[in-house]
Symmetry: C2
Subunit: 275 residues, 2 copies
Amino acid sequence: MKKLKRSSRLVEMTQYLLSRPHTLISLTAFADRYQSAKSSISEDLAIIKEVFEEEGIGELQTLAGAAGGVKYMPHMKESTALEIMEEVCLKLEQPDRVLPGGYLYMTDMLGQPELLADVGRMFATAFMGRRIDVIMTVETKGIPLAYATAACLNIPVVIVRRDNKVTEGSAVSINYVSGSNKRIQTMSLARRALKEESHVLIIDDFMKAGGTIQGMMDLLHEFKATVAGVGVFVESGEVELEERLLEDYVSLAKLTAVDMKTKQTKVVPGNYFKG
Amino acid sequence: MKKLKRSSRLVEMTQYLLSRPHTLISLTAFADRYQSAKSSISEDLAIIKEVFEEEGIGELQTLAGAAGGVKYMPHMKESTALEIMEEVCLKLEQPDRVLPGGYLYMTDMLGQPELLADVGRMFATAFMGRRIDVIMTVETKGIPLAYATAACLNIPVVIVRRDNKVTEGSAVSINYVSGSNKRIQTMSLARRALKEESHVLIIDDFMKAGGTIQGMMDLLHEFKATVAGVGVFVESGEVELEERLLEDYVSLAKLTAVDMKTKQTKVVPGNYFKG
């Protein structure tokens, strides 16, 4: 790269950091890239750090020493997250979204890249600091949420299949009971898809009693993996407490009431906002 | 937002633009946001534009006039794309990737957020300038590629289901013959998922004869939609010419030979690189 003026270097460094979240970049690498003294690079990083933190874009963690460098960690301010989710809740309350079984139609919203990027940033904020090697979800609707979160945390995604079509070598299958319709279903994951003893963050779009997520946890047990956390976009509060299969999860929104006759629903921000 | 110094403003403007691809931002909006004169904003944008274009990050399109403003369009240099795909081809040639039926195991690669971001940028570059309202894919493995592309183009994704479980209101289903195993299969899309007369970019992970993509095209016909383009990550050259169902597509890599006995494959960069 040709030597840049300071103003151009700031633009380039900003884009470089933003496109490499959770990646340690050494001062030496930056100094080489921009043919500049480390002292100038440090000054630039201080400016970037201040803007990122003031605007709530993310943290710029600097590590001192020979192995040191800088790492950008995407983040979202709680006030920004709440503003976004309050708008989401209003949209989710539109009466034409009520589906049989008390589900909500939200496929359209899960198709919007801007909202997904925001949601990924919220989950990345909620689980920042935990050891996470991989994100797991089950097909189909949780997939974009899992990838949006993975992009912020710079870790891979594995997708559990809802059948046991083994086209990818040996697989582990388990049966689980979906809490909502009480039917026994199968989910499976190829052996090669997940290293044993991984720390796994589970992400899904909707949770009622939690049967599907419990199924993923059982599957993880077969891989000797550790559950690093559970994040769901919307939880349903329309579940008896004794039916709820798990306690420790983060939800961004909560469906608190569904009237199937009038198609009226009530959706409020989830437990993410009670920390 | 408080008034920023020029260096901080450059950092903030860079991140603001990068997080809003294909979105027109007026000079007035920037001037208000940063409490600065339009002339200063224009100077800043000129610096950002130069860096983005020199580094091949993207184009910064400026539109003059009252409705004018600036729009960031992610882009990737052909040389960068080729470098990335040559590395991908080498990985795809690893012998343990050959699956029954001449398929390749690439789920692990489609789980990597960094590669997905690169691939999304390649497709965004290939189809830049076309009118595209929405991206379509069929579950499951094409989904991350579709979202990565959608994030660059700032348009929504619709996912076609491989069954006809109608849980989202009325749906359109079609039968199609998968070119590889000649079995009749079903795919369906909820009526509400796609507006009629949309311009649709089809994205998928793997194409052999093209039966699945032809199925999506038939489905689009039912929605009076127009196919704006077809992009596949890997195409298989292991198909007789007369079996190939479509001509007009963009592939990033091409599987040219599979020896099921030795598990040796040959993968080369796709027709993306012959434009």
